[in-house]
Amino acid sequence: AAPTAAPTVAPTKAPTVAPTKPAGPVKATPGKAVKMTLLPKFLGILVFDQTHRGAQEAAKELQNPEPLQYLGPTPENMVAGQIEIITAAVTQGQDAIMISNGGGDELVPAAKAAREAGMTVVFWDSPIPSGEGEQVFVAQVDFNETGKVLADMALSIMGAEGGKFAVISAAPDTANQNAWIAALKDVLKKPEYAKLQLVEIAYGMEQAEINYDKTLALIDKYPDIKLIMPITASGFPSVCKALQDEGYCGKEGEEPKVVTTGLGLPSELVSYTMNGCAPKFALWSFVDFGYLTYYTTYLLATGAIKGEIGEQFEAGRMGTYTIEKDPTREKGLRVKMGPFSIYDKTNIEEAAKE
């Protein structure tokens, strides 16, 4: 049951009305020494690396004399590893930590301990579901909007007659992706999407071979399936590769039988978009995401903002943002980045160069 939340306005880049602080958005004072740690779910995939790049860019802009630490656990040891790193950060005397939650509520005690030790704790990419121990969640997009974007892309690809499609997610316990799936299911209830039939949710466990096998199994299981929708960027290319290997899409001079859409990185998918295997997909800029996260955290850690609803701040080149109640969770604050970029043949080659 959705909690009663303030209706979401969607203020993106344009500054919105700020009732509490008429003085206008807070600006950061550069040059303060803040020891900051960026903690992704795990190391070794491109999207987190891009986030790191964005954060480094912000660090340079803000002239923080302390170097940015980029640390992460191994994928199979996500939760315990993140707890370990958070705990070590406290011992090291770090001032702030930015976390992409690799699990559910397990990080709460460690995050609380960090807060008690006086650290700034900001989540990005994937929040703490209960909101405990977290100061602010920097959301890449509105999680409810994700559902709509995904459904719209599916509709535009499959056309009015609709058909069967399946979602491939990273793992059953990934908080952000589960929220997107829930949002997608909500959206699909609306009459305009009635013809879209979501038949199954499969999990690729962030491994190429599992994504690959799952894709083929879906096709075998539903011979009339039309679309596969990976919502995990790291699994997307494997899905395309599987379809192409077995001749379902991207064959010269043939109409593709099954295509893909979802959330993916342009640089990894150019060729598939060009050959029609992934005609259209969405994502946000992870570089910007890291940049915004760093700004938010820096401001919180230097005390420029307190982390209260309605506070507005300026995040360098990206403009002004507002801290708001997170409408997708019962508790918790968020800063929403957005919007989605939709990629297709027209813009992908440009985007892939980034």
Partner: protein
């Protein structure tokens, strides 16, 4: 002839044993530990604080509890790869039952019972059906994990009563949380049982040779059965403590822990094939791994690099003494040859 266990002779033996140990593998481990502690305390001033030291145990507490019983099992010449899955299954059982409205106390006990049941199955297959433990517990590792997934599917269950989470996270006695207290109690108990009791003696002898023990009237099957049941119980307890510490449970709880646990035991000098090893060594190896990991985190080595370093350590821990022995033997031979040479010259010259 009746003499008490604390006879002076016994006491001296203990001291003597301690000295012997210092010169041996345990001595080396102790040296390594001291070096690590010194480096760490130079790295971060907060390292030596009680808080950090308790934290460091706290982060690995479940693994080190299970490492104690794993020591028995490896000395016994067997292996239990299923411990991590039993941890997961026990925790998932707790989560599922709590979700269904069963009081947490009852769910806790049932979780322990599930652990015992897993131990019973493993033990029966190994002790009575005579199958190799590597195979049985490998299958258990996959199978029990599967059951955990059946119970919880993609959910994670949190929101336990306040006291339950506090038990896992807050200090109970002094700065020590419950799990740590349990660990120290188990440690003392384990040392007494393994090193000084008849049962411990049987564990060693069976590890040496199952047949010899059987032909000497040792109830081999019962000992093995008991070990695996206790292993299931302890693993379940650790899994439940883990659930309390994290404040939530999911199907993948404790996945992959078995490798760390086995590394701790083997680096402690326990013979892979059974029959030799001691808990003192295992304790030292646990301390080394905890402090080393903490130290690496403090200098920002994390993730795969950390496990890689542990891997190097694991190999070195066996390779180093082997090499040392070889070098020693060669040197000895050289010295003897040299000695013999001078001797024969001395004999011939007059």
């Amino acid at each position: 002839m009746a003499r008490s266990a604390t006879s002076p002779a016994g006491g001296r033996n203990l001291l003597l044993g301690a000295w012997e140990r210092l010169k041996s593998w345990e001595g080396l481990l102790l040296g390594v530990l001291v070096v690590i502690v010194i480096i760490n305390s130079l790295q971060a001033p907060a390292y030596l604080s009680i808080r950090n030291q308790t934290n460091l145990f706290q982060l690995f507490i479940e693994k080190i509890i299970v490492a104690l019983i794993m020591t028995f099992i490896l000395i016994n010449g067997e292996i239990d790869l299923s411990v991590a899955s039993v941890m997961g299954l026990a925790a998932s059982t707790l989560g599922r039952l709590y979700e269904l409205g069963v009081p947490i106390e009852a769910a806790f006990l049932i979780g322990l019972a599930v652990g015992i049941a897993c131990g019973l199955l493993n033990g029966f297959m190994i002790a009575y059906a005579g199958l190799p433990s590597l195979v049985v517990t490998l299958a258990g590792m996959i199978g029990y994990r599967g059951l955990a997934y059946i119970l919880l599917e993609d959910r994670f269950i949190g929101n336990y009563p306040e006291w339950f989470s506090r038990l896992g996270q807050q200090p109970l006695i002094g700065p020590f949380p419950l799990a740590l207290v349990i660990f120290f109690v188990l440690l003392v108990g384990a040392i007494i049982v393994l090193q000084y009791s008849a049962f411990g003696r049987y564990v060693y002898v069976i590890g040496n040779s199952r047949e010899v023990a059987r032909y000497s009237g040792v109830k081999v099957r019962r000992v093995k059965m008991a070990l695996f049941i206790v292993s299931g119980l302890v693993a379940a307890l650790a899994g439940l403590l883990y659930a309390a510490r994290l404040g939530s449970v999911r199907g993948s709880v404790a996945e992959g822990f078995e490798l760390d646990i086995i590394t701790m035991v083997l680096m402690g000098g326990v013979n892979m094939y059974g029959g030799a090893g001691s808990l003192y060594g295992v304790l030292l190896s646990i301390l080394i791994i905890l402090n080393l990991r903490n130290g690496m985190s403090l200098i920002n080595l994390t993730g795969h690099v950390q496990t890689g370093v542990i891997g190097v350590l694991l190999i070195l821990s066996v390779l180093a003494p082997n090499l040392a022995r070889n070098i020693q033997a060669t040197l000895n031979r050289r010295r003897m040859r040299h000695l013999a040479g001078t001797l024969s010259e001395a004999q011939e010259s007059p």
